[in-house]
């Protein structure tokens, strides 16, 4: 009887501290920053950077689910990003589809592609996915550059704007709102996933694959699902980017871009949704800030990366969380 009473009262007890939890508190903080940021953004250049940050953050939140939670590395996410962009651009431009159809179709098609690539490779243990995605990224990059009749080649492709019910989506402020909302939505979905049986299954696979399997967790299936989710988010960000910029080039599919995305995830902190956002924000804005250093830009950029990984080895957010927790305990 006593125990029954206890279990009834328990679920309500943590509710009083709900705003203290990283989940709701972090989501509110992120939304607050996005809403308040326009107060300090003086011109369109700031908005451009902020939009770029949000799009990279969307990719990184997905990639972080794969790297930080499923323990798999993708070296081809720039390929998915570019395919989302080119796919929607070609369907909307060349084929004349409305964007409300071309964008979801392109994103879904990338999801199917990820499924086809991931299915055979994720059955194997080890980093075969990294190899397969590396190959895929290179192929996408080459095809986009060489199939110039379709893609415009290295010069790139102009992308029609999004038109909804006769209203053309344009202007930095509108795009900032759209992309900001998309980021909050992505973070919300990622946080939901992590605190669900599916998310626990991923963390379990990372903790002990053998034990996870003996609890009925199908390793290949769970890794594949999160790989597809991460590819879909990359494609979504790529498509939004293409329609926002009105232009896309094969450079978006480059291997370097894939590596940059992985660095953002590791820099911000693996297995941390907010880490992915912070990583994307810092590493997207840092080069813009460092341009004042001209020739020394890359040197300082590299030094910042090295210093961060030396002093905050788990990445910015998890390392700072740990320091904060330690200082409170004292």
């Amino acid at each position: 009887m006593a125990h029954a009473a206890l279990s009834v009262s328990e679920p309500t007890a943590p509710g009083s501290r709900r705003w203290m939890q990283p989940r709701t508190g972090g989501l509110a903080l992120l939304a607050g920053v996005i809403v308040l940021l326009p107060l300090v953004m003086r011109n369109n250049y700031f908005y451009e950077i902020a939009i770029l940050v949000a799009l990279n953050a969307i990719v990184c939140v997905g990639l972080n689910l794969l790297i930080g939670y499923a323990g798999q590395i993708s070296l081809g996410h720039a390929g998915f990003f570019a395919l989302g962009g080119y796919g929607s651009a070609l369907l909307a431009g060349t084929a004349g589809w409305p964007v409300w159809a071309s964008l979801p179709f392109a994103v879904a098609a990338v999801g199917v592609l990820a499924l086809l690539v991931g299915r055979p490779t994720l059955r194997l243990r080890g980093h075969y996915l990294a190899m397969a995605t590396l190959g895929l990224g290179v192929i996408v990059s080459i095809v986009l550059s060489t199939e110039d009749k379709l893609t415009g080649g290295p010069d790139g492709l102009s992308v029609p704007p999004i038109v909804l019910f006769g209203w053309t989506v344009q202007g930095e402020h509108t795009w900032y709102a759209i992309v900001g909302a998309a980021l909050v939505g992505t973070v919300w979905l990622a946080l939901n996933l992590i605190e669900s049986p599916a998310g626990r299954a991923l963390r379990a696979l990372h903790g002990s694959e053998v034990a996870a399997q003996t609890l009925g967790i199908d390793a290949a299936r769970h890794k594949l699902r999160v790989f597809v989710i991460s590819a879909v988010l990359a494609a979504l960000a790529g498509a939004l980017m293409a329609h926002y910029a009105g232009f896309i080039t094969p450079a978006k599919a480059s291997f370097m871009h894939s590596v940059e995305l992985v660095i953002m995830v590791v820099f911000g902190g693996m297995a941390s949704v907010f880490g992915a956002v912070v990583g994307a924000a810092v590493l997207t804005t840092l080069p813009q800030v460092l341009t004042v250093l001209k020739d020394y830009e890359m040197m300082v950029f590299g030094a910042v990366l090295i210093a961060t990984m030396v002093f905050l080895p788990q990445g910015i957010v998890p390392s700072l969380q740990r320091l904060f927790a330690l200082s409170r305990r004292r």
């Binding site: 279990s7 963390r203 379990a204 002990s208 399997q213 609890l215 199908d218 297995a271």
Partner: protein
């Protein structure tokens, strides 16, 4: 009633025959122990009973269903649960989350429902949490529920693995040396726990070196030696079996006399 049937299991690793022609049956609700010297094939057998190894010969049947050749997650889905000799705790989670992960097979959660955190998902999550707390209580780990697994002492982790395996509500629970590395008090807690589980109708297959524990909790013993079945029977029968005494228990007075001489 028989729940688990093992027929003629054999397994080789390269030139090493880890197991040859072992057959054995497990009755529902009973505690069966597998004993034998190091290298006798006990863990190899457990690995074949959980799908981690595919046997070269023979079959594994659970409730009459042939599971041979299936993957470990399919063995789990069929109703086989286990713990590990060398801990396989999820050190990246809290104790409670470890046990909640054990509920995986009992949670019918679609990916979409997980992503959208639907109201029914929120309720299921709360129920899962309550169930996990209940299990932690059952193995005596209430106060550790919210502790990070990597901050827990060894003895508690051993019991945490048992709670996690129980969370899946397996028809057969395989315990691989649950008392290894524990002190006498902790080992007594484990044997009280096993007796309690048996009393609740859980079928237990126990691999253990602690003979006091084995003799105390087992209904039936299987003795392995060099990958073969050496003997089988009740603890009494087995402890009187001369072959077992020679190969494993090694109590024999003649040996003592010989050393005296």
């Amino acid at each position: 009633m028989t729940v688990l049937v093992i027929e003629n299991l054999g397994k080789s690793f390269g030139g090493v025959r880890a197991m040859q022609g072992v057959s054995f049956q497990v009755r529902r609700g009973a505690v069966h122990s597998i004993i034998g010297p190091n290298g006798a094939g006990k863990t190899t057998l457990l690995n074949m009973l959980t799908g981690l190894y595919v046997p070269d010969t023979g079959r594994v049947l659970l409730d009459g269903r042939d599971l041979t050749g299936l993957g470990p997650h399919q063995f789990a889905a069929a109703g086989v649960g286990r713990t590990f000799q060398n801990l396989q705790v999820f050190f990246n989670m809290s104790a409670l989350e470890n046990v909640m992960t054990g509920r995986h097979l009992r949670e019918a959660a679609s990916l979409l429902a997980c992503l959208l955190r639907t109201p029914s998902r929120v309720r299921a999550e709360a129920a899962c949490r309550d169930h996990a707390r209940e299990l932690l209580h059952r193995v005596g780990l209430d106060e550790w529920a919210d502790a990070a697994a990597d901050a827990m002492p060894y003895g508690a982790l051993k019991r945490l693995e048992i709670a996690r395996a129980l969370a899946a509500e397996p028809s057969v629970l395989l315990l691989d040396e649950p008392a290894a590395g524990l002190n006498a008090t902790e080992a007594h807690e484990i044997d009280a726990l096993i007796k309690r589980l048996a009393g609740e109708g859980v079928t237990v297959v126990l691999v253990e070196h602690n003979m006091r524990l084995v003799m105390e909790v087992s209904d039936h013993l299987l003795v392995l030696d060099h990958g073969r079945k050496l003997a089988e029977g009740t603890p009494d029968e087995v402890s009187r079996n001369p072959a077992v005494i020679e190969a494993y228990l090694g109590v024999a007075e003649p040996a003592l006399e010989a050393s005296d001489a």
